[in-house]
C-alpha cells in the first residue's frame, strides 16, 4: 500500500514536471524565439492563411507545379502513406499509370512517407517546368531559371538532398504571373 501511494505521488509530481511544466516552458520559448516556426510555418497572403511551407497541397491546376503523388490524397488529418511493398502489384500498376513517358523522375512516380512531402527533386522540377510552360504558352527557359532559383542544396552544405519546395515555387510563379499581366 505504501509503495502504491509513493507511486501515485511520484507519478503526479513527474506528470506536473514533464507533462505540464515542460511543454509550457518550451511553448513560451518557442513563441518568443521562433514565432513563425512554432505556429507551423504558415504562409499568409493578404491576411489570409493559404498554407504551410512544410506541407504539400493538392494542386491540379496545370498552370502550376505539382507536388509528389500522395497515397492519402494530401490528407492532413490523418496523414498517410501507401505502405506498399516493393514487389506489390498495386504499386507496380500505380507506377505504370504515372509513367506517362519513360523519363518521369522517380520521385514523381512514387508516393512519399508522409503523403505531404513539400519537396520534389530539382530534376523533377525541371521536368515539370516543360509541362507548366506549355500550359502557360511560355518558353521553358524562364521557368527553368525560376526553378533554379528555388533549388535548395544540402542543408548547411552537408545534410540531406537537394530539393525544391513546390508551394514556394508556385507562389513565386503566381506573383510573377500577376505582375506580368
Amino acid at each position: 500500500m505504501k509503495t502504491f501511494l509513493v507511486s501515485l505521488r511520484i507519478l503526479a509530481l513527474l506528470t506536473f514536471v514533464t507533462g505540464i511544466a515542460y511543454p509550457l516552458v518550451i511553448t513560451a520559448i518557442g513563441r518568443a524565439a521562433f514565432p513563425h516556426a512554432s505556429m507551423g510555418s504558415l504562409i499568409k497572403q493578404d491576411g489570409q492563411i493559404i498554407g504551410s511551407e512544410l506541407l504539400a497541397q493538392k494542386t491540379e491546376d496545370p498552370l502550376y507545379f505539382r507536388p509528389r503523388p500522395s497515397a492519402a490524397d494530401y490528407s492532413t488529418v490523418p496523414s498517410g502513406a501507401s505502405n506498399l511493398g516493393p514487389a506489390s502489384n498495386t504499386l507496380k500498376k500505380a507506377i505504370e499509370e504515372r509513367r506517362t513517358v519513360p523519363e518521369v523522375p522517380s520521385d514523381l512516380l512514387t508516393t512519399s512517407g508522409s503523403g505531404l512531402d513539400p519537396h520534389i527533386t530539382p530534376e523533377a522540377a525541371r521536368y515539370e517546368a516543360a509541362r507548366v510552360a506549355a500550359a502557360r504558352h511560355l518558353p521553358v527557359e524562364p521557368l527553368i531559371a525560376l526553378v533554379d532559383q528555388f533549388v535548395e542544396g544540402p542543408q548547411f552544405g552537408l545534410f540531406g538532398e537537394a530539393r525544391v519546395n513546390v508551394l514556394k515555387l508556385n507562389l513565386a510563379l503566381s506573383h510573377g504571373a500577376s505582375a506580368g499581366h
Binding site: 506528470t15 507533462g19 515542460y22 511543454p23 507551423g40 511551407e53 490523418p78 511493398g85 516493393p86 512519399s112
Partner: protein, 563 residues
C-alpha cells in the same frame, strides 16, 4: 553512394563516438548521487519531489523491493494513461473535440507507451487531444525511458558490488534519470526542433485557404516537446501518424540528423557509464564495439539493398514511402538506427523498404534490441547476452564461468535464458496464431510473403518494445490491439523481472581476483564471441520464419515476380 553520403555517415559516427564518454561520465555522476553540473539548478527540485512523495533516496532496496516499486509505478502508469484516453472528451485542452478513445485501442496505447514501445494503432492528429498527448503520452515517454535506465543501473550495481544485499533505490534512479538527464536534453532538443520548423503551440488546428486550391486543415499542437523525448528516450511514438516522415515532426535534413543522433546518444553513453561502474572502461568499450559492428553490418546491407534497381517496378531509386529531403541514404540510416535501438520512430515507411532492408530492420527487432537498444533496455539486454556468452565460453574451455570476478551459476543462467527467450516465445506464438485465424490476415495491406512479413514484424515490434511497423496491416482491431498489448507487456516485464533477479543474486556474491585462467570479457575475442552468440540465438530461433518472409520475397522479386 555519393561522397556527400559518406561525409554524413562519418560525421554521425564521429559525433556519436565523441559524446559517448561525455554523456557516460555525466550519467555516472548522476546515478551515483554525486554533484554534477546541473546540481545547483535541479538539486532543489529533486529534493522537493522526494519530500513531497515521502521518499528517502539514500535508503537502498533489495531486488524484490526494487522490482515491486517498479511494477507498481508502471501498472499505475497504464491505469492513468488508460483513464485519460477513455475520458478525453470531457477533459480540457481538446480543441478538436476528439471523442473518447475506444477501450481496446486505449489499452493497447497505454501498455504501448508505458513499456517504451510506442506502437501506435492510431494517428495522433485525428485521435488524441493535446492533454492526452502531453500529460499522458509525453509523461510516459519520460518515465518509461527513466525506468529502463534505472533497471540497467540497478543491474550494473548488482554486478559490481561485493557481498551486498541491495541494488539501489528505484525512486531515486527514476527521478534522477528524468530530471538530470532526460528533461534537460529534451529541452535543448525541443528548441532546436522548433528552430527547424516543428510546431509548438496550444492553438487549435488552422484552416488554410489557398487562393484557387482546396481548403487544407493544418494540424498543430505541442509537438516539439514530445518529439524531443520521443527520440531521446528511444520511445518512437509520433505526434502524427506518419511519425518522423511527417514534415511537422522532422522538417529538415538537420532535424533528421539530430533525431538520429538522439536515438543512439543515451544507449551509447550508457556503455561508457557501465565501464566506469565496473572500474574498467574496456568492459564498456567492448560492448560498444560489439554493438557498433552489428549496427554497421545491418546498415551496409540495407543501404546496398536500397540502391539496387527494382525488377518489378523498373525504378532505379526506391523512393516509395520516402521523403525527398532525406533521400535513400538518410532513410535507411534512420531505419537501421531506429530498429537497432528500440526506438521505432520512422522517417520512411518500412513497409515500402526493399525485402533485405526491411529484413534487416526485422532482424534487428528479433535479435532482442541490443544493438545500442532502448535507453537502459538495450544495455541490460546486452548484459543478459554477456552472461550467456560467459557461460558458453566457460563450457567450451571447461572452467566455471566468471564475470567481473563473480561466479555465474545456474540461477543466473536460468534467468538469462528466460529473459532471452521471453520475446521469442511471444513473437512466434503470436505469429502462429495470426497466421491460423482469419482475424490475423484479414487486414493485411500486402499479399504474398510481404503480407506474412507484416504480421511477423508486428509481433516482433511489440515483443521487442520497438514500435515501428510495416504499417500496411490494419492493427486497430480487437485481435491486434489485445494480442500486441500482451506481447508488449511480456516483452518488457518478462525481461525486467529476470534482470533484477540476476542483479539481486549477483550483488550478494563475493569477488575473486582474476587468475591466469580467467576468461577475459574485454577485447576483440570476447566482442566476437558476444556477436556470435547474439546472431546464433536470433538465427536459430527465427531463420525458418525469416525464410517465409523477407528472404523469399527478395529472391522472387529479383526474378521480377510481383504479388
Amino acid at each position: 553512394m555519393k561522397p556527400h553520403d559518406w561525409v554524413q555517415i562519418f560525421l554521425y559516427l564521429g559525433i556519436l563516438l565523441a559524446i559517448t564518454p561525455l554523456l557516460g561520465m555525466f550519467m555516472h555522476r548522476v546515478f551515483s548521487g554525486r554533484r554534477n553540473i546541473l546540481s545547483a539548478v535541479i538539486g532543489p527540485l529533486e529534493r522537493l519531489i522526494y519530500k513531497m512523495a515521502g521518499v528517502a533516496p539514500e535508503r537502498e532496496m533489495r531486488w524484490t523491493e526494487y522490482a515491486g516499486a517498479l511494477f507498481a509505478f508502471n501498472i499505475l502508469g497504464i491505469a492513468v494513461l488508460l483513464a485519460l484516453q477513455l475520458t478525453q472528451q470531457w477533459l480540457p485542452l481538446n480543441p478538436q473535440n476528439f471523442p473518447n478513445v475506444p477501450f481496446a485501442l486505449a489499452l493497447n496505447t497505454a501498455v504501448s507507451f508505458v513499456t517504451n514501445t510506442n506502437w501506435q494503432a492510431y494517428s495522433g492528429e485525428s485521435t488524441l487531444g493535446y492533454l492526452v498527448q502531453m500529460a499522458g503520452l509525453t509523461v510516459q515517454n519520460f518515465v518509461s525511458a527513466a525506468t529502463g535506465i534505472a533497471v540497467l543501473i540497478a543491474l550494473a550495481r548488482g554486478l559490481t558490488r561485493k557481498s551486498a544485499e541491495t541494488i539501489g533505490n528505484f525512486w531515486a534512479d527514476l527521478v534522477r534519470a528524468t530530471l538530470y538527464l532526460l528533461a534537460p536534453l529534451s529541452m535543448v532538443m525541443a528548441i532546436v526542433l522548433i528552430w527547424q520548423g516543428v510546431p509548438q503551440t496550444f492553438s487549435a488546428y488552422v484552416a488554410a485557404k489557398p487562393p484557387d486550391g482546396i481548403e487544407q486543415l493544418i494540424p498543430l499542437g505541442p509537438v516539439a516537446s514530445q518529439i524531443a523525448i520521443k527520440q531521446l528516450g528511444t520511445n518512437g511514438g509520433g505526434y502524427f501518424g506518419q511519425n518522423s516522415a511527417h514534415p511537422f515532426e522532422n522538417p529538415t535534413p538537420f532535424s533528421n540528423f539530430i533525431e538520429m543522433l538522439a536515438i543512439f546518444a543515451i544507449p551509447a553513453g550508457l556503455t561508457y557509464t557501465y565501464g566506469l561502474m565496473t572500474k574498467d572502461r574496456r568492459q564498456g568499450w567492448t560492448i560498444f564495439g560489439a554493438m557498433l559492428a552489428l549496427f554497421l553490418a545491418g546498415f551496409a546491407i540495407s543501404w546496398w539493398a536500397e540502391l539496387q534497381p527494382n525488377a518489378v517496378t523498373g525504378l532505379a531509386s526506391n523512393m516509395e514511402g520516402k521523403e525527398v529531403r532525406f533521400g535513400v541514404m538518410n532513410s535507411v540510416l534512420f531505419s537501421t538506427i531506429t530498429t537497432d535501438a528500440s526506438c521505432g520512430a520512422v522517417n520512411a515507411m518500412h513497409d515500402s523498404l526493399t525485402p533485405l532492408a526491411g529484413g534487416v530492420a526485422l532482424l534487428n527487432l528479433l535479435l532482442g534490441e541490443v544493438i545500442f537498444g532502448g535507453v537502459g533496455a538495450g544495455m541490460y539486454g546486452m548484459l543478459v547476452f554477456v552472461v550467456l556468452t560467459v557461460f558458453l565460453a566457460g563450457l567450451m574451455v571447461g572452467r566455471s564461468p566468471e564475470y567481473l570476478g563473480k561466479k555465474i551459476e545456474a540461477h543466473e543462467v536460468r534467468w538469462s535464458v528466460v529473459a532471452a527467450l521471453a520475446p521469442c516465445v511471444c513473437i512466434l506464438i503470436g505469429l502462429a496464431v495470426a497466421c491460423s485465424i482469419p482475424a490475423g490476415s484479414a487486414t493485411l495491406g500486402n499479399q504474398g510473403p510481404h503480407g506474412f512479413s507484416e504480421m511477423f514484424y508486428a509481433f516482433a515490434s511489440a515483443a521487442a518494445n520497438n514500435g515501428s511497423a510495416l504499417a500496411g496491416v490494419g492493427v486497430n482491431n480487437n485481435f491486434y490491439n489485445y494480442t500486441l498489448a500482451i506481447c508488449m507487456f511480456l516483452g518488457r516485464f518478462a525481461i525486467i523481472g529476470p534482470v533484477l533477479a540476476i542483479a539481486g543474486s549477483m550483488a550478494g556474491k563475493k569477488v575473486a581476483p582474476p587468475s591466469p585462467g580467467t576468461f577475459p570479457t574485454t577485447g576483440f575475442t570476447f566482442a566476437g564471441l558476444l556477436v556470435a552468440v547474439i546472431l546464433i540465438v536470433g538465427a536459430l530461433t527465427f531463420f525458418p520464419a525469416l525464410t517465409l518472409g523477407p528472404i523469399v520475397e527478395h529472391l522472387v522479386m529479383g526474378a521480377g515476380r510481383s504479388f
